[in-house]
Amino acid sequence: MTDDQIIAQIRNGGQSELEWIYKAYRSEFLHWISREFHCSADDSKDIYQVAVIIFYENVRSGKLEHLASSLKTYLFGIGKNVARDQMRKASRNTSIHQEQWLKEYLIDEPEEKVDENLFTVAKKVLSTLGQPCQQLIELFYYQKRTMEEISVQLRYKNADTAKNQKCKCMARLRALFEKELSTIPLNTIT
């Protein structure tokens, strides 16, 4: 399978492709990053996991459609950037905070910051949203599935039904969010 075929498969696929990528380059990457940046075994694994997730996210979001180099070079390049950034931000002895790193990576405009308080509330209400709403909006906003694909996967009548359902789910999420915000003292929200 060519690298472009792998990319096409990731775009349409699920976690099995993620697993395949992770296992395919793991040993080589861990060996290389620990030698290049003198990382511990645990830090090397953390960096590799972040690199694979970023690669996956770039494919799904459409940022990466064709590879100018090989898949391995691209993946190792991400790993190098993550490791360098980590070294710049923190002392060498501090382990990478994967979730924080990925949270910042997901922001589309790098100069913008997400309000931590609002983000905490949003995460909390999202966990109470219930199914199939959680799955539907995750398929749309994270996995970047089309309404046509979502209608097939979640067995809606058609793409329009899926779209209407998604709007209802977002309205429900907003209502939960506003209700939760109303219970929090104003001076704790910026």
Binding site: N12, G13, G14, Q15, S16, E17, L18, E19, Y22, K23, R26, K45, Q49, V52, I53, Y56, E57, Q98, E99, L102, K103, L106, I107, V114, D115, L118, F119, A122, K123, L126, Q134, I137, E138, Y141, Y142, Q143, E148, E149, V152, Q153, R155, K157, C167, M170, A171, L173, R174, F177, E178
Partner: protein, 245 residues
């Protein structure tokens, strides 16, 4: 209130990339001047950000789980190296029993092992019959002859004229055989949603579509439903479920 709803809808469409260039420009201009609108915008952004973060977190947990199993495997290998050498013959035998069936746990391999096109039990055909016969006969004849490309085309035509569950089921099978999983999923879903018959069959083949696409969770959910029926597919579904677990 109406204005608030309109603004929310406008912002949602912005994040869904459903606004025109002009509308996007207007929205950005308004964001600079209208504090309340900016507040709504920021709330929507943080909600979508939390949704994407939840997706990333799931994928990260999934990789950590893979890493844990790989590390455990490696650690056990190192600790018991002496034991493996001593008991090489036994381990070889156990490996044959455990790892060979385990190798089939790859969804693609399981799909290949379990997928067999549904037989044509809906329309009798005559071998070497007159090819100028009607569309329906030609479609079923192509299917029975294993010419799935032609069968898919003819069944599609047939479904436009008159949708019936059997035609959709075999159209789905043809598409699945040809690797067109998105179309096949739609065909089987139509059978499940629009008809009262062939539900179990459609769910079985839909689960295989998911398996072929690597969507193991969705496949297992359907297989559980099929395994609980009193049909020919129930034991096969249970066996496939066991292998996936």
């Amino acid at each position: 209130m109406k204005g608030h709803l309109h603004d929310t809808e406008l912002i949602e469409r912005y994040f869904d990339n459903a606004l025109s260039a002009r509308e996007t420009e207007d929205l950005k201009e308004r964001l600079k001047k209208d504090f309340e609108f900016q507040k709504l915008f920021d709330q929507e952004k943080v909600l979508i950000h939390s949704v994407r973060f939840q997706g990333v977190k799931k994928d990260l947990d999934f990789l950590k789980e893979i890493e844990r199993s790989l590390s455990e495997k490696r650690s056990t290998q190192i600790k018991r190296l002496w034991y493996y050498y001593a008991a090489a013959a036994c381990i070889g035998l156990i490996a044959l029993i455990i790892f060979l069936p385990g190798a089939e746990k790859d969804p693609q391999a399981l799909y290949a092992a379990y997928f067999q096109p549904h037989p044509n039990v809906f329309e009798p055909t005559l071998r070497g019959g007159d090819p100028s016969r009607n569309l329906r006969s030609r479609a079923f004849q192509a299917y029975e002859g294993g010419n799935y490309e032609q069968a898919a085309g003819l069944f599609t035509e047939l479904a436009k004229e008159n949708k019936d569950a059997g035609v959709l089921l075999l159209l789905g099978n043809s598409n699945l055989f040809l690797g067109r999983t998105v179309e096949a999923k739609r065909n089987f879903t139509d059978v499940i949603v629009d008809f009262d018959q062939l539900d179990t069959e459609a769910k079985w083949y839909l689960s295989l579509c998911h398996l072929k696409s690597g969507e193991t969770t969705e496949a297992m959910s359907l297989l559980k439903e099929v395994a609980q029926t009193a049909t020919f597919y129930a034991p096969k579904a249970q066996k496939l479920l066991d292998e996936l677990r």
